[in-house]
Amino acid sequence: MTTTELLTVHPSAASRARALKPKQVVYAIIGIVILVIMLFPVYWMINASLQPSGNTLTAGIFPTNPSWAGYEKAITDQGANLVTSLIISVGAVIVCLAIAAPAAYALAQFRYRWISVALLIILIGQMIPGIVIANALYAAYNDLGLLNTHVGLIIADASQSIPFAIIVMRAFMMNIHPSIIEAARVDGAGQVRTFWSIALPVSKNALITAGLFAFLFAWSDFLFALTLTTTSDIRPVTLGIYQYLGTQVSNWSAVMATAVLSSLPAIILLLIAQKYIAAGAMGGSVK
């Protein structure tokens, strides 16, 4: 009854009514239910981090009486480790982009005969289990004095994102219109200049995507942190959580507070840089 009235009186309201069919409302509700189930662990992590007793035994479903004690302990114990993770991740992004961007440009724009071989090596490189790399790097790092150093972890972490970064940026740079490159070359710009002042600015989005993932990869790294450090001098937060799990499971709120703090980059990037994350996730199909 109301629909017919709306139809005759307000065409715009009618189209709005049509836009939200009951079926769609049902789908949206199902979608929310799926999301609630899938993201429940994330909610539980936040909830547990705010529990006052430090024990999940008494944890309510909601943090009705939130306590910051877990966070205080987390910052005291793991604050330095969070800073270490930040330094290493930023370092890995810089190294990754500096190495991968020129290579991606070259593989996209220059006509090498061996491009398919290079791409094959990159693809296979991504499939090598990290433990294989760690096993060999430990011996080499020991000889070179790179164990327990920021530099050692930065270059190891960057190695994990370089293949992905090359693939994502190359895919983007293949679409740079040849006329733009040619115009620069005709104006007398050399290869380096063309790359630096034409190709890179045009590929800003691909650079951001590759950089974001390089950051997340390095920030999430656990294996290299575990194997390439032997003292507590340089300890990324992932390793800090692992050590917590070994010793302190009695104090869950501190463990979960550290987990929340280590999840912040992923959560923030997902909220403010969704476009780039989605692009990278699709690029992951060749990852």
Partner: protein, 303 residues
Amino acid sequence: MTTATPIRARRRIRRDDVVKFMFVVPAAVYVLLFFGYPIVKNLTMSFQDYTTKTFFTGEAPWVGLDNYVTAITSNLFGPSLLNTALFTAGSLLGQFVIGLALALFFQKKFPLSSVMRALLLLPWLLPLIVASATWRSILDQDSGILNRFLGVFGLDAVPWLTSPDVALIAVIIVNIWVGIPFNVTLLYGGLQDIPEELYEAASLDGATGWKAFWHITLPNLRAVISVTLVLGVVYTLKVLDVILGLTGGGPANATQTIAIRSYQTSFIDFEFGVGAAFSNILILISLVFAIIYLRGTRKAVDE
């Protein structure tokens, strides 16, 4: 004069080539150092008696296939190989089935669907050790929320991470949770690429619902499905963080896999030679699937 021009031209070409070459040199060096070197080093290490002593004396005597014999005849080799197979197959089955179901669901048009799809990526973007820590609190036998939830229905508390009977299942469940977003993303992308006209044409022939799924969706999704599955295998084979964080390979070695064996032999027992042998066995298994993958992608490109 006449000869000078070609020479200069040739020299300029050569300089241009050198500059072009320099674009890829850093990446090539990096790949050599961080992928090439480790593979070769692992191979040589696996034929050496390489232990902590080696770091002091520099001596690593050649021992032939001894490390492989030690690895394969160790008590834990059989169980860890079986666990690797079960862990990989179970994770993949769960991730893929749920991933495909969600991808199909998100194809429907409804409000907020793209936002929801984006938020669904979160488990995949979190550090794996964070996922392990969180799930460890959820799965805790006495105080975990999962057992409290099951208790509401009168079910007994399950010792998820402390009983050898269920620990592997618990670890698989967590790994499925971690892997769903990756599967949804790839499969959703594949579904989007299937032309709408195919479905329209089929619906005229009366093929809708399951029929359409069986005769249109699946055949057209074949290439994406094989990529998703093979990448899933390769990534699951090397999983360490999830298992180390949840069970550390225990209880009673119930969640030992080849990757965990490799890590523990090298970095807990400091038997780098035997650890390398385990690693190479892992590479060999991955390689089989990598070849399947590369053949698949080449076929997909050819088609």
